[in-house]
Structures are given as structure tokens and as C-alpha cells.
Amino acid sequence: MVSVEKSSVPINTIRITEKAAKKVREYAARDGMEKFGLKVAVKGGGCSGLLYVLEIVDGPDEGDKVIEDGGLEVYIPKKAFVFLAGTELDFGDGLNGKGFSFNNPNAKRSCGCGDSFGV
């Protein structure tokens, strides 16, 4: 049974935990990227209808909402933000760690793997 903590992130933003931000910086450094940000988006698909998309990119696309958290720039397409408002992005490592995970107050359902959610 997975217990989900209620997110306390304000509804006008999303939050990146220190663990998640650190992991993003590690991946960017591994790829030799100096200027980078984290794209957080949503696309249709997955068991529950919507899938999270994470990507390290060198800058925002036109129309992206830009948020700074944990010393990291986060870019969110406006159409995706409505599904992500108030979300906390975390990272769990170790053998049983779930990698990046989303605590999304908009998600009414999530599938077993945690990559997909429904609203």
C-alpha cells in the first residue's frame, strides 16, 4: 500500500525537492550542460490517461511558464501547467527507490508505476 502525502505546494507553482534538484544537476553535469533547466510537462497516455514528461533542456520554449525553485529553472508548457499546479517533484534512490516521483494534488488516480495519472 502506497501512502500519498498531501502536497502543501501553493497552487500557482510547482516545487522541486532538494533531492530531485540535485539529481537533475547530476544528469546535466554528466551531459556536460552548463546552462540548463528542467522541462516538466504532461502528455496523453499511460494507464490512467496522462503521462508525466521530464527533460533537461537548455532553455524554455516560447509560452513556457518559468519557475525557479531549489536553484533550478523549471519550464512548464502553459497547457500542461493546469494538470501540474501544486505538484511536488521528488526523487527516491536506492534499489527500491522509485526515481523521480510526482505528488500531484490534481491526480484523482495514479497507475501502479506512478508514471501515469488521471484527473
Binding site: K43, C47, L51, P77, A80, C111
Partner: protein
């Protein structure tokens, strides 16, 4: 709505019936003759009341692959594939065919009943993707040539290479001077060709096909044949009440493709054999209506979905769903009104 060319076809029908808000021919002549065309000849059916959607954009295929049950990613130009849009709970929202054409938008062939739902759902899940939908149902027509003689008719119209197209392939031909997309399909018993064309060309193409030997057939005979061969249809056997395994649509699910909407539930149903009811044929000994509850020893165990008067069975037959333990061929059930109903394996054998 209405198109003059389609109206010309409808004017030749003896009577019309409204299906999903659109008129379709009910019959052109004797129902028994029209029914026989499906079994021993070639039947020509107006299916323009069904839904046709064009989907353009660079992400169209990727999007449909992520949303629906079949492997759409591997669909090549010249191919058509049926797929299911399911709900998160693994129930059927719509069954549709994706047609991939060269340098043209994708064509989605869907039902009339669930077309708007399909449009709405794909639009909802289009977030940042390059994908645009256009409902072309009113400006296009859809005809079908079905039955064992359909290949001979197709050969007469467009040559042997078109007539021998395997199911799931399509090509563009010219019939009576008009461009027609021909999609080869199968109803599980006989070959079928689905024809998509400009609505204004409908009556000209219709005449060319009848001249090549196909018999105009109305909905009454087409429904009788559909029920006998056990093909589920939108709004009747296919609804959000039903999951794809219950409706015998296993073939439209790719169990290796990864996630799609409803995948978790559908995979669990399959793996743990959790499917509890089954689509069956039903033969009635008296009056039967759609939506009648079926009972065994006074306990409710299923319902009827489509009821037709079958020329081959000389009486009422139906498609319906019953619980697995009552799905065996020959099982006797009863309606609430006490009418006796016998379960038949699908396809039903009129012999």
C-alpha cells in the same frame, strides 16, 4: 445536414430509418434477397452514418499509439488497423480504425454513436502535441461491399490487384470517374471492402458498383447478418459498460506495446482470467426486445443488446452478454416475461 448525392441513393430505398441522427436505407426490396447477398453474393451497403475524422499533425500517430490499445506506431502507409480507446477503468469508449495514407492526414473511421466522444477524448489528451482533428463525416460518404462475391465485384470495378488486397491494406482507385479510397477488411467470415469517397460522388459510385453486380442492401438485412456473425457495434454491444475482453475484441489489444489508457486494468483482466461475462448469440422462442434482462432459475445473469428478425433462423435472434457459467452453446435462459432464450456460439450457424 444532407447531401444530394446520398439522397439520390436513399430515394431508391423502399424505406429509411434514422440511426444516430442520420437517415440510412432500411431496405431496397425483399429482405430475404438482401440478406442472401451477404451469404452467397455481394451486398452493397451505405454506411455513411458512421463517423469519419481526419487527424493531421506530426504527433498524430504517436498520440494515438499512447492512447489506444493497438500498435499504431508500426502502422505503415497503405495500412489500416482497428484499435480501442478505453477508459482508465478499462471499459470501451470507442472502437475505431486508423487509416494511414501517404502525404494525407490520418483517417479515423468510427461509429456514429461515439464519434463525438472520440473527438472530445482525443482533444482532451492533446496537450502540447502537434495534432488537429477535423470531422469530415458530412462531406464524405462510406460504402461497403460485403459477402463472398465482393472480391469479384471489386475486381470488375478496379482490377484483380485491388480485389486481392489483404485485409488491413488500402489503396486509392477511380470508380465511375471519382476517386475512392478502398480499404480491404474481413468480417471474420467473408471479405469486405470499405469505400470512402466524397459525398458528392456517392450516387455515381453506387451505380457503378451495382452495375458490377452488387445488390443494394438496407440496414435490416445488414443487422441480421451482423448479429449472426457476432460483430459487436457501438452503442449496443460496445459501451462503457463493457470491457474489450467481454466484447471479444482481444485481437485489437497489443499486450507488448506498453502503456495505453486502461492498460493496467485490461492486462489484469487477461492475466488473472477475471472476465466474468461473454458476448453470445441468442435465439428466442417468442418476443424479445433490446435491453431485456436474461435469467437463469430466476436469477439475473445477462441482457440482450441487439435483437433482429433473422431470415435464416426464421425468427428473432440477438446478441447479448451472459455470465461465463451460462455462456455454453445450448444453455436455456428466460426473459423476465418468461420467454425462452437459447444461447448459441458465435458466429451463429443458421444451417
Amino acid at each position: 445536414m444532407g447531401n444530394r448525392s446520398l439522397d439520390e441513393i436513399h430515394n431508391r430505398a423502399e424505406s429509411l430509418i434514422e440511426v444516430d441522427g442520420v437517415h440510412v436505407p432500411l431496405r431496397f426490396g425483399e429482405v430475404a434477397d438482401e440478406y442472401a447477398a451477404f451469404r452467397v453474393g455481394a451486398a452493397l451497403v451505405d454506411r455513411s452514418h458512421l463517423g469519419r475524422i481526419e487527424q493531421s499533425g506530426a504527433d498524430a500517430i504517436d498520440l494515438l499509439h499512447r492512447l489506444s490499445t493497438a500498435d499504431i506506431e508500426s502502422l505503415a502507409e497503405g495500412e489500416a488497423r482497428r484499435t480501442i480507446l478505453a477508459s482508465e477503468r478499462g471499459r470501451i469508449l470507442d472502437v475505431f480504425t486508423v487509416v494511414r495514407r501517404a502525404e494525407r492526414p490520418l483517417l479515423l473511421l468510427t461509429s456514429g454513436a461515439f464519434k463525438n466522444l472520440l473527438l472530445e477524448k482525443i482533444e482532451f489528451y492533446t496537450i502540447t502535441e502537434d495534432s488537429t482533428l477535423e470531422d469530415v463525416s458530412a462531406t464524405t460518404a462510406q460504402l461497403a461491399i460485403a459477402g463472398p462475391g465482393s472480391a469479384a465485384v471489386m475486381s470488375d470495378l478496379s482490377g484483380a490487384s485491388v480485389a486481392s488486397l489483404p485485409a488491413g491494406r488500402h489503396t486509392e482507385v477511380v470508380i465511375g470517374g471519382d476517386r475512392v479510397l478502398v480499404i480491404a477488411a474481413s468480417d471474420g467470415i467473408n471479405p469486405r471492402f470499405d469505400l470512402i469517397l466524397d459525398a458528392d460522388s456517392a450516387s455515381g459510385v453506387w451505380d457503378a458498383i451495382t452495375s458490377a453486380g452488387a445488390l443494394p442492401v438496407g440496414r435490416e438485412a445488414a443487422e441480421a447478418y451482423r448479429v449472426e456473425i457476432g460483430v459487436p457495434t457501438a452503442g449496443r454491444e460496445i459501451s462503457e459498460r463493457i470491457n474489450p475482453l467481454e466484447a471479444d475484441l482481444l485481437d485489437l489489444i497489443d499486450f507488448d506495446k506498453g502503456c495505453y489508457i486502461g492498460q493496467e486494468v485490461i492486462a489484469r483482466l487477461d492475466t488473472y482470467d477475471k472476465v466474468q461475462r461473454k458476448l453470445v448469440g441468442l435465439q428466442a422462442m417468442g418476443g424479445l426486445s433490446e435491453g431485456d434482462l436474461l435469467q437463469s432459475d430466476g436469477r439475473e445473469i445477462g441482457w440482450t443488446a441487439t435483437v433482429v428478425d433473422s431470415p435464416a433462423f426464421d425468427g428473432l435472434i440477438a446478441l447479448g452478454f451472459v455470465r461465463n457459467e451460462h455462456a455454453e452453446d445450448g444453455t436455456r435462459l428466460a426473459t423476465e416475461a418468461g420467454i425462452e432464450v437459447t444461447v448459441c456460439d458465435l458466429p451463429m450457424d443458421p444451417a
